[in-house]
Amino acid sequence: MEVTPTHSDPSFFKPHGTTMRSEVRVISYILSGWLISIVGCQLFAYLLEVNYSALLLDDLIFFNLPIQFWLSGQLLPLWFIILCILFNLWMDRRTVQNLEGSLRFRVKPTRGEDE
């Protein structure tokens, strides 16, 4: 049997429906946080090196490490874990909401029954 989609195809940039729209919105936030942190940390280290020479980087020690080592080696992996946790929490919440919605639909009383 020929199956024909009755609407135009959704995509990441053209999400359809509430579920996909909200999912794409959260993914965009997470990926923005991911991209900005990676590029931002490197630009920060690069600009410090270019504009202030090595002297400032020598003095900027965080948790016993030079700032660029701490940012890239310690903070970014931790930040990625936090981003993943945030995404999962949001997905879990959405799953529960969808489930509640479907349960409400299922237990809706038929006409004539007490609510």
């Binding site: 999400p15 996909m20 948790f63 016993n64 490490l65 660029q68 890239s72 990625f80 995404f87 999962n88």
Partner: protein, 509 residues
């Protein structure tokens, strides 16, 4: 570091660790029927995370990364960020959606989503090439360790290492050993961090968290020995750093053996939380790995040794040789060697078996013997396993580069081919077979061009460095896929509806 003599204590520790894994695997075999396993048992989200992490650990993580830090300093951070940041991409863009396709391998996914046997075969061929390249990096690590353990040259060590890997797979298969990935991960992390704690304690640094304690070594290297760590982009450009970092991230989200973890996990929610645990376990290794490279430099400087920039072999073994110079006891060196060997063995065995399975189920019955029975396919898989091992062994004789660099090339290939195929396959229902075939072929060309004509065309080598080509390559492949898909007929209505409705929960009207 003493070459030319047999390291009896480390050999005993390596043998003991393999015996432990085999015995543990035999014990967990009885519980297999009630649990779930993709070469291992399912034990909740932490177990999935440990499985992801132990599946990920390799010679590149154990040995290669320290070598990169030793030789290239801050440039090594691109590996740390790339190999952890890729899991964010994997989680948010692929992990949940892949499960909804219900396919078990990368070629399966490509064949189903793009409704094309040609695309499926091409994906299988690419998966095999990725496995071979990745295995070369692992075989190199195994050979270097065998060379150190038995005090023999690199060439015979490659042959012995290959024989050991093949024997390991055959014996494990014959005995029906199930990989206990949780145990394996926790043993690996102990073998990696315990020697590091010993070394930092010996130096009087903050040894309880050596991941931070090694900062004192950086200061000492700067102040007393004039090593310049404070100019992160002095020897490499910002572009090179970002290109490598993003290539590794795209590759992480495109490596077939990494993606396969998500096909098999029982629940979507478990798969998602398993990624978080896996990323945490992986980060534990990468928070620590730079310390080995930095400490090795310090020990060399203290002993009046110059930085050895010419030898990739020496750099790849710097975690062990640095620990030796720092006065770590032989049993600690044995732990480190056993961890590296175990990580390289398990990933190599998995990759070779995946490669042979791809051949026997995706290529052999389609291109070589269309009427092959199930028994024929099993024989083909066994034969191809040996062929793959021989090919990898032959390639490992060549000094292609450092372990981490060879692994990065495999990531670049995955990032240029499988990653775009999955990304558009999941997120754009209009992507079709022509698009994915053109895209994957373009990805192959982009990945291998710098290897073959990079010397004669420097602009190619600059824009698409061999180990970092997916930074510009993956977006280019995505553009090729979009253009080729739009210029040709759309995929069937059924698959478009499946992606919209079943994968993304879009309403039908």
């Amino acid at each position: 570091m003493a070459y030319g003599m047999i390291q009896l204590v480390p050999i005993a520790i390596v043998a003991g660790m393999f015996a432990l894994f085999i015995l543990s695997g035999l014990r967990s075999r009885s519980g297999q029927s009630s649990e779930y396993g993709f070469s291992g048992s399912y034990t909740g989200r932490v177990g999935i995370g440990a499985g992801i992490a132990s599946n990920w650990m390799s010679a590149a993580s154990f040995l290669g990364l320290a070598g990169i830090f030793y030789l290239k300093g801050y440039f090594g951070m691109a590996y740390v960020v790339g190999w952890t940041g890729g899991y964010v991409l994997l989680l948010v863009l692929m992990a949940t959606q892949i499960r909804r396709f219900g396919k078990f391998t990368a070629p399966d996914f490509v064949g189903f989503r793009y409704e094309s046997d040609t695309a499926r075969t091409l994906a299988a061929v690419i998966s095999i090439i990725i496995s071979v390249i990745y295995c070369v990096a692992q075989f190199r690590g195994i050979a270097l360790l065998v060379s150190w353990l038995f005090g023999i040259a690199y060439f015979p060590a490659v042959i012995i290492g290959t024989s050991l890997v093949v024997s390991h797979v055959v014996v494990s298969g014959a005995l029906g050993v199930v990989r206990n990935q949780k145990l394996q991960y926790f043993v690996l992390i102990i073998t990696f961090i315990l020697p590091l704690m010993l070394l930092t304690r010996k130096l009087g640094y903050f040894w309880i968290l050596p991941q931070f304690g090694y900062g004192a070594a950086i200061s000492e290297l700067q102040q007393q020995f004039g090593f310049n760590w404070s100019e992160p982009f002095a020897s490499t450009s910002l572009f090179e750093w970002l290109a490598l970092c993003f290539t590794l991230m795209f590759g992480t989200a495109g490596l077939p053996h990494v993606l396969s973890r998500f096909y098999m996990v029982p629940g979507i929610r478990d798969a998602r939380w398993g990624v978080v645990w896996g990323l945490f376990f992986i980060a534990l290794i990468y928070w620590s790995a730079p310390a080995y490279g930095v400490l090795a430099r310090l020990f060399e400087a203290r002993n009046g040794l110059a930085l050895n920039t010419g030898s990739a072999d020496a750099a790849d073994m710097i975690a062990l040789s640095g620990a030796g110079l720092g006065g770590a006891p032989l049993w600690a060196l044995g732990l480190l060697a056993a961890g590296g060997m175990s990580a390289a063995f398990s990933i190599t065995a998995g990759l070779l078996m995946n490669g042979s399975a791809s051949f026997s189920f995706d290529i052999y019955p389609r291109l070589i013997r269309p009427n092959a029975s199930e028994q024929d396919k099993v024989y083909a898989a066994k034969a191809f396993f040996l062929v793959l091992a021989a090919v990898v062994m032959t390639l490992t004789f060549q000094p292609w580069g450092m372990i981490a660099e060879i692994a990065a090339f495999a990531f670049a290939l995955a990032g240029n081919t499988i990653f775009p195929a999955f990304l558009l396959g999941i997120w754009w229902p209009r992507a079709n077979a022509t698009g994915v075939i053109c895209g994957m072929l373009t990805g192959l060309v982009i990945s291998f061009t710098p290897l073959f004509i990079g010397d004669s065309l420097p602009v190619i080598a600059h824009l698409f460095p061999l180990t970092s080509s997916a930074f510009l390559g993956a977006p280019l492949v995505i553009i090729v896929m979009i253009v080729a898909s739009l210029l040709t007929a759309p995929p069937s209505a059924a698959i478009r509806l499946f992606v919209s409705r079943d994968v993304h929960d879009c309403p039908e009207n």
